[in-house]
C-alpha cells in the first residue's frame, strides 16, 4: 500500500497516544473474571460458585477467562490483551472508598491523581487532553493541566459557538501574539467537533457496540466507550480518558451481580478494539479495580472483600498474555482472612503501560515515594 505523503505526515503529527482508564468500582472478583481453573485450591474454596475447568475459556494450562467474556478470547490469542493477576495495592483496610482513593491517587499521601501527575509531567496539553466520561472528575485526573468531565459529547458540540461567532473570534484573535496560536487550536478543535456533531456515530471495521438487547448495563457502558473511540478517532487531542463501571460488590449471589457486567466489559472492549482498527496500536486501555475478593465463597453464594485482583491491558502495543507469579491459594499462601496475595503492585502494572505513553523517565514524578519496577505488560 502506498501512503500519500500528507497522510503519513498527519498520522505522525497526531501520534500522541491515548490512555483509557476503566475503573471497575466495587471490587471486581478477579477469581471470577480470570479463574485459575488449574488450581485445586480454587475449586475447594468455591465449591458452589467456581468457574469449572470445563466451562472456562482456556488462556493457558492454568488460567481461563469467564465464559461470559468470550469476546475477549480472540484478543488474548492475538496478543492484544494482557492480564495481570494477583494485582492490587498495599491498602489492607478492604474499604472500597479507601482503596479506590489510594489507587486513583497512586500512593498514600501524594497530591493529585496518577493520570493528572503523568499528564503534568509529560508536558503539553490541549483543552481535551483529559476527559472523564461521567458526571464528575475521578481522583485519578486530579492535578491534570486541564480536565473535563462530560456526560455527553453534546457538551463539546458547538451550541452557542455558532459559525458567525467563530468567524468573528478568529478575526479578533488574529495577530494576537500571546493568544493567537491558542485561538487557532481552539477553532480547529471546535471545527473537528462540529464535524462529529453533524452525523450520528458510525463505528468502523464492522464493530458493534452493545444494544438494548444486551441489557442496560452493557448498553450504557458500550455507549461510553464508543464516545471515547469517537473522540480518539477524531484526533481532537485526547491523551487520557476515564470511564467507570460500577456495581461489582458481589456479596450476595455473585453470579447475578457480575454476569451483566462481565458481558458489558467483554462486549465493549471487543467492539472498541475492532472499532479503533490501526489506532489500537497507539491507544491503551487499562481495566482496574480497587481490590479482589475473598478466595472462599460465603454462605450466600457471594464473596467478600479481598486483596489481589485482576487487571486487563488492551492495545497500545501491549505484549499480550498472562502476567503473574501465581502465589497459590493454599492455606499458607493466603493473606488476612483468606485473600489472594498482592504479588504485583498496581503501580508497576500501570507504569508498564505509561512507559509506552512517554512517562519512561518521569516515573518518579508519577508515582512519588516508590521505586517503580514497570511490568512488561
Amino acid at each position: 500500500m502506498i501512503l500519500h505523503p500528507q497522510v503519513a505526515k498527519d498520522t505522525e503529527r497526531d501520534e500522541p497516544r491515548a490512555l483509557i482508564a476503566i475503573f471497575l468500582r466495587g471490587a471486581a472478583d478477579g477469581l471470577a473474571l480470570v479463574p485459575p481453573v488449574g488450581d485445586d485450591d480454587y475449586h475447594r474454596a468455591r465449591p458452589r460458585i467456581a468457574v469449572q475447568a470445563s466451562e472456562g475459556l482456556r488462556l493457558d494450562g492454568f488460567f481461563a477467562l469467564h465464559p461470559l467474556m468470550a469476546e475477549l478470547l480472540p484478543l488474548f490469542q492475538e496478543g492484544q490483551l494482557s492480564i495481570v493477576h494477583a494485582c492490587g495495592s498495599d491498602d489492607d483496610t478492604r474499604s472500597h472508598f479507601e482503596a479506590q482513593d489510594l489507587m486513583e491517587h497512586g500512593g498514600t499521601s501524594v497530591a493529585g491523581g496518577w493520570i493528572g501527575r503523568w499528564l503534568r509531567a509529560s508536558g503539553g496539553s490541549g483543552p481535551l487532553a483529559a476527559l472523564a466520561l461521567g458526571p464528575q472528575l475521578p481522583e485519578s485526573l486530579r492535578g491534570a493541566p486541564s480536565a473535563a468531565a462530560l456526560e455527553s459529547l453534546d457538551e463539546l458540540r458547538p451550541g452557542d459557538d455558532t459559525e458567525p461567532v467563530r468567524e468573528v473570534l478568529g478575526e479578533l484573535y488574529r495577530g494576537d501574539e500571546l493568544l493567537g496560536p491558542s485561538a487557532c487550536d481552539a477553532l480547529a478543535a471546535a471545527a473537528r467537533i462540529g464535524e462529529l456533531a453533524q452525523r450520528t456515530y458510525q463505528p468502523e471495521h464492522g464493530a458493534v457496540y452493545a444494544t438494548a438487547a444486551d441489557g442496560e448495563i452493557a448498553q450504557d457502558f458500550g455507549r461510553g466507550l464508543a464516545r471515547i473511540a469517537q473522540l480518539v478517532k477524531a484526533r481532537v487531542g485526547v491523551r487520557a480518558a476515564t470511564l467507570d463501571l460500577e456495581g461489582w460488590d458481589s456479596h450476595f449471589v455473585q453470579e447475578t451481580v457480575i454476569a451483566p457486567r462481565l458481558r458489558a466489559v467483554a462486549l465493549a472492549l471487543s467492539a472498541f478494539a475492532r472499532d479503533l482498527g490501526p489506532l489500537l496500536a497507539t491507544t491503551s486501555v487499562v481495566v482496574m479495580t480497587e481490590f479482589g475478593r475473598r478466595v472462599g465463597e460465603n454462605g450466600s453464594l457471594g464473596t467478600d472483600h479481598g486483596r489481589g485482583g485482576a487487571f486487563f491491558v488492551l492495545g497500545g502495543g501491549t505484549s499480550g498474555g498472562m502476567h503473574c507469579r501465581w502465589p497459590g491459594l493454599g492455606e499458607g499462601s493466603l493473606i488476612g482472612p483468606g485473600d489472594l496475595s498482592v504479588v504485583h503492585d498496581y503501580r508497576d502494572a500501570l507504569a508498564g503501560v505509561l512507559a509506552r505513553h512517554g512517562a519512561g523517565d518521569r516515573m518518579e514524578r508519577v508515582f512519588p515515594g516508590r521505586v517503580i519496577a514497570p511490568m512488561p505488560v
Binding site: S109, G112, P145, S146, D160, D161, A186
Partner: protein, 493 residues
C-alpha cells in the same frame, strides 16, 4: 445541638434548591443588583480608573467606575482615595458577600469538627465560597491578596487529611493574615494542620541517631515561601532547617484531639544548629522553630522574593526592577507589613502606567481562569450559586481552586494559561446563552442600564471600541454578549 443542626443542614442542603421559595439564586440576586443606569468608559484607551480597578479587583461591576471617580474631582486623587479605602477592608461593609456565603455551613466549623463533613462537601463549599467572595465582596483588594497567598502557601486538598484541613487553613491562615504581617502569616502557615500534612512536616522526626529528618517542608519553606530558589541558601541550610522543625506534628483523624498541633520533644533533634548564618544553641526545643521562622521571614531575599511575586500579580510577568526594589524596601522597613508593602506598590509609576513608557502595560495582563470567570459574573451582575455546573469549567480551564498538586501554586505567568481558550470561549458563550445551571445573567436588563449595545461594548472592553472592533462586535449578527466576554480584550485586565 450544633452537630444535629449541621447534620440536618447537610441532609437538606441538596433538597433546598428544588423547593419553591428557597431558590438560592433569588437569595443572591436581591442584594447583588444595583438599580439605575451606569456609565461605561468614554475613553479610546484604558483610562486610570479602568486600569486600577481592573488590576486590583476581580473585574468591574456596573457602577464601579462611577463610584471610583466620585471619590475625588481628579482621577489621580480618586485612585489614592480608592486604594486607601481598599487597604482598610475592615471599614468596608461587606454584608453582600457575607450573605452570599452564609449557606456554606462548613466555613465556620472549628478545625477539629471539619472531620464531620465529607471531603467533597468541604471542597465544594470552599470553592463556592472563594467564587462568591471574589464575586460579591466589596473588599476586592483583600480578596485578591487572599487568592495570592492561597497560591503562595499552596495546599492541595487531595493529599492526605488536607481534604478536611484546608478549610481551616483557608480561614485561620490565609484569610486571617492576608492583610497582616508576613512573619505572622508565615508562622501560622508553618503550624497549620493542613500544611503539616501537605508538606509532610508531621512526619519530620528524629528519634534515633541514624534517623534522618523529612526535608520536604524545610525545602519549600526556603525555596517557595520565603527566600526563593536563588535566595542564597544551601542544601546544608535546608537540612538544618528541617532539624529545627523535627518533632512538630499534628494528630490525625483517628483518635482524640484531632488536628491538634503538638511538639514532641522526644522526636526533636535538640543539638545545635546553624541556619543561614544564625547559630541556634543546643537544647532550644520549641524555640528552634521560632528562631528559624523569624530568621527566614526577615531575610532580605524573602522581601525580594515576595515583592517580585506581588509585582508579577499587579504589574506584569517581568516587572521593572525599580518597582520590585521599591516594594521590597517597603517590605523590609515595615517588618513585612503586607498593607504597607502593597501601598508602596500601588503608588508606583510602573503600576499606574500613566507615562508613555509604561502605557503598554495597561490592559496587557492575562486574567487567570478563576479571575476571568469571576470577572464575567461581576461585569454582568450574574446571580450564581457557584455550584458544580460553574466550577466544572474551572477544572476544564485547569484552575480548580485548592487542587493544584505541587507546592508552587498555580502559576501567575501568562504563558501557563494561554492554552485554555477553548473552554474560556465555551464558558463565555454558555453563560451568555444562559446554559450554565445555577448561574443567570439578565442580559436585557444589563443592556437597558448601560444604554444599549454601544454602552455594553464600552463596558466590557473597558474603553471605546475601534471602528474595526465595533464592526466585528455589532455588524456581523453574532450574539454580542458572548462574543464580548470571549474576546481577547476581556481575557485581559
Amino acid at each position: 445541638m450544633s452537630l444535629t443542626r449541621r447534620t440536618f443542614l447537610l441532609a437538606t442542603s441538596g433538597a433546598c434548591v428544588s423547593l419553591g421559595g428557597c431558590d438560592p439564586l433569588e437569595v443572591l440576586r436581591a442584594p447583588a443588583q444595583e438599580s439605575g443606569t451606569f456609565v461605561a468608559s468614554t475613553s479610546p484607551g484604558i483610562d486610570l480608573a479602568q486600569h486600577v480597578l481592573g488590576r486590583c479587583t476581580f473585574g468591574l461591576r456596573p457602577g464601579d467606575r462611577s463610584a471610583f471617580l466620585a471619590l475625588a474631582p481628579q482621577p489621580r486623587a480618586a485612585t489614592a482615595a480608592w486604594i486607601e479605602e481598599q487597604l482598610a477592608p475592615q471599614k468596608i461593609d461587606d454584608e453582600r458577600a457575607e450573605r452570599a456565603v452564609r449557606r456554606c455551613d462548613s466555613l465556620d466549623a472549628p478545625i477539629g469538627e471539619l472531620y464531620e463533613y465529607k471531603p467533597q462537601v468541604l471542597l465544594r463549599e470552599l470553592t463556592a465560597a472563594a467564587l462568591l467572595r471574589a464575586t460579591f465582596s466589596k473588599r476586592q483588594l483583600y480578596e485578591v491578596l487572599v487568592e495570592f497567598w492561597t497560591d503562595h502557601f499552596n495546599i492541595d486538598c487531595s493529599k492526605g487529611e488536607c481534604a478536611w484541613l484546608k478549610a481551616g487553613d483557608d480561614r485561620e491562615v490565609i484569610r486571617k493574615h492576608a492583610f497582616g504581617r508576613f512573619p505572622e502569616l508565615l508562622r501560622a502557615s508553618a503550624f497549620s494542620p493542613a500544611m503539616l500534612w501537605y508538606l509532610d512536616g508531621r512526619a519530620n522526626v528524629k528519634r534515633t541517631a541514624i534517623e534522618r529528618p523529612n526535608e520536604n517542608y524545610a525545602r519549600e519553606l526556603l525555596e517557595l515561601h520565603t527566600l526563593g530558589v536563588h535566595g542564597g541558601y544551601t542544601q546544608q541550610d535546608v537540612m538544618e532547617a528541617a532539624r529545627c522543625l523535627t518533632g512538630w506534628t499534628v494528630r490525625d483523624k483517628n483518635g482524640f484531639r484531632k488536628a491538634s498541633v503538638e511538639f514532641h520533644a522526644d522526636e526533636h533533634d535538640d543539638g545545635r544548629k546553624s541556619v543561614l548564618g544564625v547559630e541556634i544553641p543546643a537544647g532550644g526545643r520549641e524555640r528552634d522553630a521560632e528562631i528559624l521562622l523569624e530568621t527566614v521571614a526577615k531575610h532580605p531575599s524573602t522581601a525580594a522574593h515576595v515583592s517580585t511575586k506581588l509585582c508579577q500579580r499587579f504589574l506584569s510577568d517581568d516587572p521593572p526592577r525599580a518597582a520590585v526594589e521599591a516594594v521590597a524596601a517597603a517590605f523590609r522597613t515595615s517588618g513585612g507589613e503586607i498593607v504597607a508593602t502593597l501601598r508602596a506598590l500601588l503608588v508606583r509609576p510602573e503600576f499606574l502606567a500613566e507615562e508613555p513608557e509604561f502605557a503598554a502595560l495597561r490592559g496587557a495582563k492575562l486574567k487567570r481562569p478563576f479571575h476571568y470567570t469571576v470577572s464575567i459574573l461581576r461585569a454582568t451582575e450574574a446571580a450564581t450559586d457557584a455550584g458544580p455546573a460553574l466550577t466544572s469549567y474551572l477544572a476544564r480551564m485547569g484552575h480548580a481552586p485548592f487542587q493544584f498538586p505541587t507546592p508552587d501554586g498555580y502559576p501567575e505567568e501568562a504563558a501557563a494559561w494561554q492554552g485554555a481558550l477553548f473552554w474560556r470561549w465555551k464558558l463565555a458563550l454558555a453563560l451568555a446563552g444562559g446554559h450554565v445551571e445555577g448561574t443567570r445573567i439578565d442580559a436585557p436588563r444589563l443592556l437597558e442600564r448601560v444604554g444599549g449595545h454601544d454602552g455594553l461594548v464600552a463596558h466590557l472592553l473597558g474603553r471605546q471600541p475601534s471602528a474595526r472592533e465595533r464592526e466585528l462586535f455589532l455588524g456581523r449578527g453574532a450574539p454580542i454578549l458572548g462574543l464580548l466576554l470571549a474576546s481577547p480584550i476581556f481575557q485581559r485586565c
